[in-house]
């Protein structure tokens, strides 16, 4: 995105733009690197695995952004929403904490464990909060816990000056900032965390400045997205999301992908394969060649979710508590390689990243454009539909989701 107006919270809260002084004033053109690894057996691996996979792809970034998300990392707080927060100053911290105190039962507050690291400077204040939604307020709002948390995230990001939510899911967290990913991983002591799923990103900012909040992954609840590419449909995607109560405030195109997955997978109950087909829609010429049932399904999906389609080049990895999904744009304008060894599925921008952390893989392959690679930790319930060959009568159900799922979330 090239729209610095996006950074101005005055659209929502009336604050001036000085809060963005940590942003870099220049932009450099290049690419990004990413990785995702998931052990479908639920076995845990150290964050060092993710660091290693990103370090081998160092040349894909330029030191202006690195980040990770890990899942299953807070087994002592499995049912708490964990907010990873970035604060510009203590005023931002106090303002955000008043939101937490008002809306949540806060069970633990602590600074993010970090260590001094070469290459990492100008870090914001970094804190984490293990919270539960205040049940009285949740009931009064008539929302699910998840919608309530989304509401709080949107409120903080759009109205609290100097405060950003880095992540807000259960038993997961995002660790990101300005630096190379191996430096960021070292800074956040990631080798001390064990997770069943990790995603990582090496940033080479092209259209928006390098700053701590702008590093990947972008998250909402436990959805976390890392992205290589640019989403040229950002405008239509963000306007579409606003109808459902999402506010795009972080000034980076990738944000919309996280919210679109939340909308389609959590709120609309769409099978993950169909959500991916909505984001990376088959070309109409391809749809014309499909067998009848699938043709109607894809045509319906494009009609219903047209404003959710991501245009432009992308490779993305979505992490969530049940695994990960990797997806390319429909004409493969960014690299993505996948591998499997036993119960471990891994994706990366380069095969070398896979070779760096997995020896003797069963299979390495280049996923087809627009066809997701899905890894699911055993026992995870996530709507899926194998093969996508629905009968026409099933289409409206699949696209429409459960009754009432499309109702707009009121925010503000």
């Amino acid at each position: 995105m090239n729209d610095l107006m996006l950074h101005d919270k005055s659209r929502y809260g009336g604050f001036d733009a000085a809060r963005y002084r940590e942003e870099s004033p220049f932009k450099i053109h290049g690419g990004c690197g990413l990785m995702g690894i998931c052990d479908e057996s639920g076995a845990l691996m150290s964050g060092q695995t993710a660091i290693r996979a990103m370090a081998i792809q160092r040349e894909r970034g330029n030191g202006l952004g690195g980040g990770f998300a890990g899942y299953g990392i807070y087994p002592e707080f499995p049912d708490h929403f964990c907010f990873h927060m970035m604060y510009h100053d203590t005023a931002g911290k106090e303002a955000a904490e008043s939101v937490f105190d008002e809306q949540f039962l806060v069970d633990l507050v602590e600074p993010m464990p970090t260590r001094p690291t070469r290459g990492i400077t100008d870090a914001p204040l970094l804190w984490r909060y293990f919270v539960k939604p205040d049940p009285v307020r949740v009931e009064a709002a008539g929302m699910s816990d998840e919608d309530y948390v989304v509401h709080a995230v949107m409120r903080i990001n759009s109205t609290v000056d100097g405060a950003f939510v880095a992540s807000s899911g259960k038993n997961m967290g995002a660790f990101k900032g300005v630096g190379y990913p191996e430096e960021i991983g070292h800074y956040f002591r990631l080798e001390e965390y064990d997770g069943h799923t990790w995603i990582g990103h090496n940033r080479f900012p092209t259209n928006t400045p390098g700053w701590w909040g702008g590093a990947h992954p972008f998250t909402l609840l436990d959805w976390a997205i890392v992205h290589n590419g640019e989403i040229s449909s950002y405008g239509i995607n963000s306007r579409y999301l606003e109808q459902f109560g999402y506010k795009c405030t972080l000034g980076t195109d990738t944000e919309v992908a996280a919210y679109l997955f939340d909308l389609m997978l959590r709120r609309h109950g769409l099978p993950v394969e169909l959500a991916c087909k909505a984001l990376a829609s088959p070309l109409w010429s391809e749809i014309d060649r499909m067998p009848a049932g699938e043709r109607e399904l894809m045509a319906s999906l494009r009609a219903v979710y047209g404003p959710a389609m991501l245009n432009g080049p992308f490779a993305i990895v979505l992490g969530f508590n049940g695994g990960m999904v990797a997806l390319n744009d429909r004409i493969k304008l960014r690299p993505l390689v996948a591998a499997r060894k036993g119960s471990v599925v891994m994706v990366a921008s380069e095969e070398s990243a896979i070779r760096a952390v997995m020896s003797g893989v069963d299979r390495v392959w280049a996923p087809k454009a627009g066809e997701p690679v899905i890894a699911r930790v055993g026992g995870t319930e996530l709507p899926t539909h194998d093969g996508l060959h629905l009968a026409p009568a099933e289409i409206s159900c699949a696209v429409g989701g459960p009754a009432g799922a499309c109702e707009t979330l009121e925010v503000g």
């Binding site: 792809q57 191996e182 095969e351 070398s352 280049a366």
Partner: protein, 270 residues
């Protein structure tokens, strides 16, 4: 793997010269965890010192191997070379025992690359001479804008299947796809084959549907003259890949050539 030092960030590559051993005119480099700059500098140094054969062990992700070299050195790569293998290469023979990543043979001018595995996207981008022989599958935009001039005729043979945009904007040279050593499901090649093509020739073993081919291409059955051109190329390919040339030639080939050498000649004419 190296032991973990928790006092400093883990680094994927060491900024130090690779381990070197020499045997006659062969130089062997241990590239394990060595950064591409140090590794490629060691390769260039070995070539300057007269090495005829350079063997790289433990390669994983190092970019630009063979890039810009203009000698007849032979480079053997064990592992997974990084992007832009043999970019701007002008003479050497590179043999990869593993899969190659993206951008192999980018703007290559002369020499030969043999990959005993799969290769990624934009293989042979703007290639203008030499040969690239891949055993397995290749990705998207393979052979994009290959070009030829007089005796400079690039030749690429891919033994597996290919994805979309095979031979896109092709301006010259020969691009061959066999569909044999593949883990891809579906047809031998995706869509948009030869879109924007205005020179050169594509040969595909087997058949191809008209929807897969760009408007700028004519689809023909390869005739005797074509097979006479293909046979020596495939004999050389099969010798390098240890395949049976008779089996390769047992099926008819489809030939794609441009219907116009200036498909967009009128696009900006008033």
């Amino acid at each position: 793997m190296r032991t973990m030092d928790l006092s400093a960030p883990f680094e994927g590559y060491l900024r130090q010269a690779p381990g070197i051993s020499r045997d006659g005119d062969t130089v062997r480099l241990d590239a394990t965890d060595v950064h591409y700059r140090q590794m490629n500098e060691a390769v260039r140094h070995a070539v300057r010192e007269g090495a005829k054969r350079v063997v790289l062990d433990g390669v994983n992700g190092q970019r630009y191997i063979g890039t810009g070299l203009s000698t007849d050195v032979r480079i053997e790569v064990h592992g997974t070379p990084g992007n832009d293998l043999a970019m701007f290469m002008d003479g050497p023979a590179v043999e990869v025992f593993g899969n190659a990543q993206d951008g192999v043979g980018n703007t290559m001018n002369a020499g030969k690359v043999v990959v005993h595995g799969d290769a990624g996207d934009v293989l042979g981008y703007g290639m203008r001479g030499g040969r690239v022989f891949v055993r397995g599958d290749v990705g998207y935009r393979v052979g994009i804008h290959m070009k030829a001039y007089q005796d400079q005729v690039p030749i690429m043979v891919c033994g597996g299947k290919a994805r979309d945009f095979f031979g896109e904007y092709m301006a010259g040279g020969m691009l061959v796809l066999l569909g044999m050593n593949s883990q891809f499901e579906g047809p031998v090649v995706g869509g948009y084959v030869g879109t924007g093509m205005h020179g050169g020739v594509i040969y595909i073993r087997g058949e191809i549907e008209p929807w897969q081919v760009g408007e700028e291409c004519g689809i023909f059955i390869a005739g005797d003259e074509d097979m006479a051109r293909l046979r020596p190329v495939l004999e050389e390919y099969c010798a390098d890949q240890r395949m049976d040339v008779d089996e390769v030639l047992a099926r008819p080939f489809t030939k794609l050539v441009p219907v116009s050498h200036r498909p967009y000649g009128k696009m900006y004419a008033y």
